[in-house]
Amino acid sequence: MIPDSLFGRLREGWCTAVDEYPTALAWSHRGNMLLVADAGGGLTAVAARDGATVWRQSHGDSVMALAAHPQRAVVASAGQDGWVHIWDLASGNRECSLSVPEQWVEHLQWSPQGDYIAASSGRYCRVWTAAGDLVWTSTEHASTVSGIAWSPAGELLSACYGQVSIWQPPDSAPVQCLQWKGSLISLCLSPDGDIVACGSQDNSVHFWRRGSGKDSMMSGYSSKPLALAFDPSGSLLATGGSTAVTVWCFSAGGPEGTAPVELTIHTDLVTSLCFARRKERLLASGGRDGGVVLWSLDGSGEGAPVGAVALVDAVEGLAWRPDDRALAVIDAGGGVSTFRLRE
């Protein structure tokens, strides 16, 4: 049930395509450029205004992650060749290159102020300064790191099999370990840094409250909940793991003992979830069915679709522009589409 037209509040913007399977996307900090990385190692910068290619570079091997600097016009890419490259957005020139010995660099994130960049590769995390000096290497994890996140206080969190570790570089030992006997496959931190949520291979979501030390397991998913997203207030956690968007509400004593809200419209697995940054509880979901749906949620997580688009190929990633006025989508067919948000 989508009001008005199929598009609702989404208005079709420009579309373009990349030659290989797109693996990651990121908006520049000012939102004037969109970067798309692909499995062939290509890195394409397009203008936010019209989708025209501004520059195109080769990372080397398949790109696994992209991270735009929060305050400067640079973007970092991480690839299967064991390199992290930092690129100047205006020129497309490589500013510096960071090498890791364990090959595949899977996760990449700038610290909140952009002073540091963290990357995970195999069983290790590393932190460099923005200038490219390696300042910290974690001890060995129990398995390949499956997700990283910086907390607002500048701690680095990493998830792997059986554990989330919380590090305070340059300390070599973790300051806190959150354990759970299962394979954690994704990591998401609430905006205040208190709630750590992880998708688990056994079709569940596990979360911990760092303040109280309490943890809970939310099960009942039909598949692996890889996609996780907190709303800007930190009271709602949207999760994939089925054809529904499952929303857990953390206010009023929940979500323990409560039933989640299930938002249904997708006909195949939900692959991507992204809340708008400033707009109240506006959620975009993408599915393997090629659907992109915009949901408006209330404080309890209940909501209705307010816009939708059907793409031909499975949605691989979604990203709101920093001003929330446009949504970019990459799909398995190599398509890069943008949609503007109608007020």
């Binding site: 398995s143 499956s146 056994d202």
Partner: protein, 447 residues
């Protein structure tokens, strides 16, 4: 959903030194038109200029519920999940495991993980064994036993390290553990690629429909020789061998063509089922009776055979002629068999890991069958590595084919029985299986 379009994945297991790298290089350089992506768990082993080679550490992930069949290989999920994004660069995947890998989680990954199941299909498990060392490994290593137990194809490699007789014994031991697997021999992993790839061993449509019966019949004897003999006195001479006695049947061979040999073998099976007559060194051999040659004494033993008229005789021996250096001597030389044949022997199930096969005519009751199999898998699923077979369900005009790994079970209707005799054939490979109880359990399901 059709499996067309899914990328086949072969698993290569075997202990360090068994020849996995040699086989891998042989496959990669072979002229088969496939573009093969390789996931390597043993570092630096292969050296190729082109193609996708990815190194990964084996990561076995157990689940919080403790369920063994949910245990998967995290590295495969991660690597294959990324590899599929480069789908246009390859059309086949080979996964090389380390010698210590447990094949269970590897196989289960292809059934338990939705993302992997959607894009990939497990083609088969190929296990290399080092002929010179496997005998010792089988006694000492759980991993070696399980790699043999899980295999669809077992390559008995480095055969130059053993005598033919020892190889036969080894092959017998391996077949006793895993009846489903095809066993090939090689010296330097030199095996045609089509014997190890595209097996479609986990594909119910394929494996069982193509082979009406996937087990070779077994015989209580391993060797037969046909001799054209003139009238006279002959001596059957045997050297020292591995056992203190050996069964033998001597009988006239009317026909020696293929059907004729199988008729003869059937007659011989019936004779072998009778009580044996012990024959001591120096005594004469009777014909068309089950003889038990006594071979305890040191040195060669001789048994006499007297022929009144020319005859064509068949000797069916429990062990191969090579094992006891069996020779038929004439008065001035020795007779050469005009035909020799090796038979698939019944295996002694003394190993901890064994195959249990149940073959019975008749129809099984659907409800009883589900209940029996459900209980069996619940109680012994951890110890059942592989299972495969077909069942005749009462009231169902089609064969029901099934296969499984541990507790994961998959069954579907196959071709109609038509005029064919309705029967059941079930094979389980596992540890500590109680064959008699399983046989009784299945029998109780028949209507």
């Amino acid at each position: 959903m059709s499996i067309q379009g899914k990328v086949p994945v072969s698993i290569l297991t075997g202990f360090l030194g068994s020849g996995k790298t040699t086989l891998l290089n042989r496959i990669l350089s072979g002229n088969h038109g496939k573009r093969i992506a390789v996931i390597e768990n043993e570092f630096g082993a292969i050296n190729i200029d082109h193609g996708l080679v990815i190194n990964a550490d084996e990561e076995v992930f157990e689940m919080s519920n403790g369920c063994l069949c949910c245990t998967v290989r995290g590295d495969l999920i991660r690597v294959l999940g990324n590899l599929i994004k480069r789908r246009d660069k390859f059309d086949y995947v080979l996964v090389e495991t380390t010698g210590l890998a447990d094949p269970g989680p590897v196989a289960q990954t292809f059934f338990m993980d939705d993302d992997i199941r959607r894009e990939f299909v497990l083609d088969g498990i190929v296990t290399l064994v080092d002929a010179g060392h496997i005998d010792k490994q089988l006694g000492n290593s759980k991993e070696a036993e399980e790699q043999v137990a899980f295999a669809d194809v077992i390559l008995l490699n480095k055969t130059d390290l053993l005598s033919a007789a020892d190889l036969d014994l080894l092959e017998g031991r391996i077949k006793g553990m895993n009846k489903m697997a095809r066993v090939y021999r090689s010296r330097h992993a030199d095996i045609p690629v089509e014997r190890v790839l595209d097996l479609r061993a986990f594909d119910l449509d394929e494996t069982l429909s193509r082979r009406p019966t996937f087990l070779e019949p077994e015989y209580p004897f391993e060797w037969s020789g046909i001799y054209e003999l003139a009238a006279g006195t002959y001596t059957l001479s045997l050297g020292e061998g591995p056992d203190p006695s050996m069964s033998l049947v001597v009988l006239p061979a009317d026909k020696t063509d293929e059907p004729g040999m199988f008729d003869l073998a059937e007659r011989c099976v019936r004779l072998y089922a009778q009580d044996a007559e012990a024959v001591l060194d120096g005594e004469a051999l009777g014909t068309e009776t089950h003889l038990r040659l006594q071979l305890q004494e040191d040195g060669r033993k001789s048994f006499s055979l007297l022929l009144d008229s020319p005859a064509r005789l068949a000797l069916f021996a429990q062990h191969t002629a090579e094992e006891f250096d069996l020779r038929l001597l004439t008065e001035d030389g020795h007779a050469v068999p005009c035909q020799e044949r090796l038979w698939v022997a019944q295996h002694e199930h003394d190993a901890e890991v064994t195959s249990v096969s149940i073959e019975m005519p008749g129809d099984a009751d659907d409800t009883l069958m589900n209940s029996w199999l459900g209980t069996l898998l619940r109680e012994q699923g951890e110890d059942i590595f592989r299972m495969k077979g077909f069942i005749s369900i009462a009231g169902e005009p089609r064969r029901i084919v099934f296969q499984g790994v541990h507790m994961l079970f998959d069954a579907q209707a196959d071709r109609p029985w038509g005029s064919e005799e309705r029967k059941n054939q079930l094979v389980f490979i596992g540890r500590n299986l109680d064959e008699q109880a399983m046989r009784r359990g299945f029998e109780a399901c028949l209507v």
